[in-house]
Point group: C2
Chain length 214, copies 2
DNA sequence: TAGATTGTTAATCGATTAACAATC
DNA sequence: TAGATTGTTAATCGATTAACAATC
């Protein structure tokens, strides 16, 4: 089923649609118009209709959108109608935070394993997971049906860890390791960078600019 | 000094310029042309010249850009030529990860205090910081010259913590608390949302779409 | 049916890229 | 000076908004 390419701009708005619909579901709202949705999300009604129509005609003229139906469609589109298994590479503080974080579980993402190559960390227990050595990663991925690898090592190990993950068969990397330039990955590997230092630098710019009267 | 408005698109690229220049500095490169920079960053030379010129004419015809000079200018523009003090509200695992994280310190951002309103957590020590009660926040902000508050509480406390922060005088909030809809803040307060669940949902969409042959 | 609201086409706006004169 | 490369204007591309005919 070949579909048209979805622009980055649209993708970046999808989680907000999802959260918005989730809230409407929670509030037992049956139907919603693009105008009402637009007000909730502080965007234009036009944009909402355009965005939704890249995926299909989920609405009905004269009625609007059925909340339950639209939520179900969005859930499917986002792949949130099934579970996703993850591992964390780099068993540090961030890994600890992630294993405890219920927000991921709530949308069906489970951390199934922690991996590290530091002998001092291997064997330690985080929440209810025992840190395993990197050598066991490849088998684990197959056995536990792992879809996503969270990369959370210090920057010195970034390239090493990334290539270990890739050769172990991980196809999707969520990268929290700060790096110099972005790391390169083969074409069939998807990498999403979550550079907290970059976000902080952006915030710094905004703060600094605001302080100078803009 | 009133300047023109800088677009989101430009701001989002600034950290990468910074990191790129940092690398050139590290490699002791003296000068760089927009074409060379473009190759490093995988963008067009035109974009680099446009971007940099929103801040000033840092280059020289026939020569290019002096790396040291451009780096210094960028550092100033981003506010990275001075230190920034931060506090974390919500002393959980994420707070622990942040206090240990050297990446923030490296660019001059220091976590000076941890605050929580849970009596069981108050008094605990994270790295070298003792968790303080929220009542002490307002005074602390003034005494320690705090610029940024990192919001890292569970979602149930999001609104409460945010309004506590604002009334304590925090003007810049870096929000890691996942929420339903985005929280509203007064005009003079800057909030930057770092919604990890949203990022994960985006990744989920991309992974799911890729799995369906796109 | 009449009113409402979608889906979609057309218009506008903004951001990116190309081109080139200015100038080091 | 001649060659190189910027700063900047103009052209293109893509994304957002407006408008409205289709239709529930």
């Amino acid at each position: 089923m070949m579909e048209k390419n979805i622009s980055r701009a649209v993708i970046s708005r999808l989680p907000r649609y999802y959260r918005c619909l989730e809230k409407l579901m929670y509030d037992h709202v049956d139907r919603v118009s693009s105008t009402e949705l637009a007000e909730m999300m502080k965007v234009t009604a036009s944009q909402i209709r355009q965005d939704l129509n890249t995926f299909g005609g989920f609405g009905q003229q004269g009625y609007g959108y059925n909340v339950q139906n639209l939520f179900a469609e969005l859930t499917k589109i986002l792949g949130l109608d099934r579970e996703h298994n993850m591992v964390v590479i780099g068993a540090g503080n961030l890994a600890r935070a992630f294993t405890n974080y219920i927000g991921f579980k709530r949308i069906g993402f489970y951390i199934k394993g922690l991996f590290d190559n530091n002998p001092e960390v291997i064997g330690q227990t985080f929440h209810d997971l025992t840190v395993k050595p990197m050598e066991e990663l490849a088998d684990f991925i197959k056995e536990e049906n792992i879809e996503i690898g969270i990369l959370a090592v210090p920057w010195e190990y970034l390239n090493e860890a990334a290539s270990d993950m890739i050769s172990a068969g991980i196809k999707n990397i969520w990268n929290f390791a700060p790096g110099g330039l972005d790391i390169e990955v083969p074409d069939d590997v998807i990498i999403q960078n979550e550079n907290l230092s970059d976000s902080l630098i952006q915030l710094s710019f905004i703060v600094t600019a605001a302080g100078q009267g803009r």
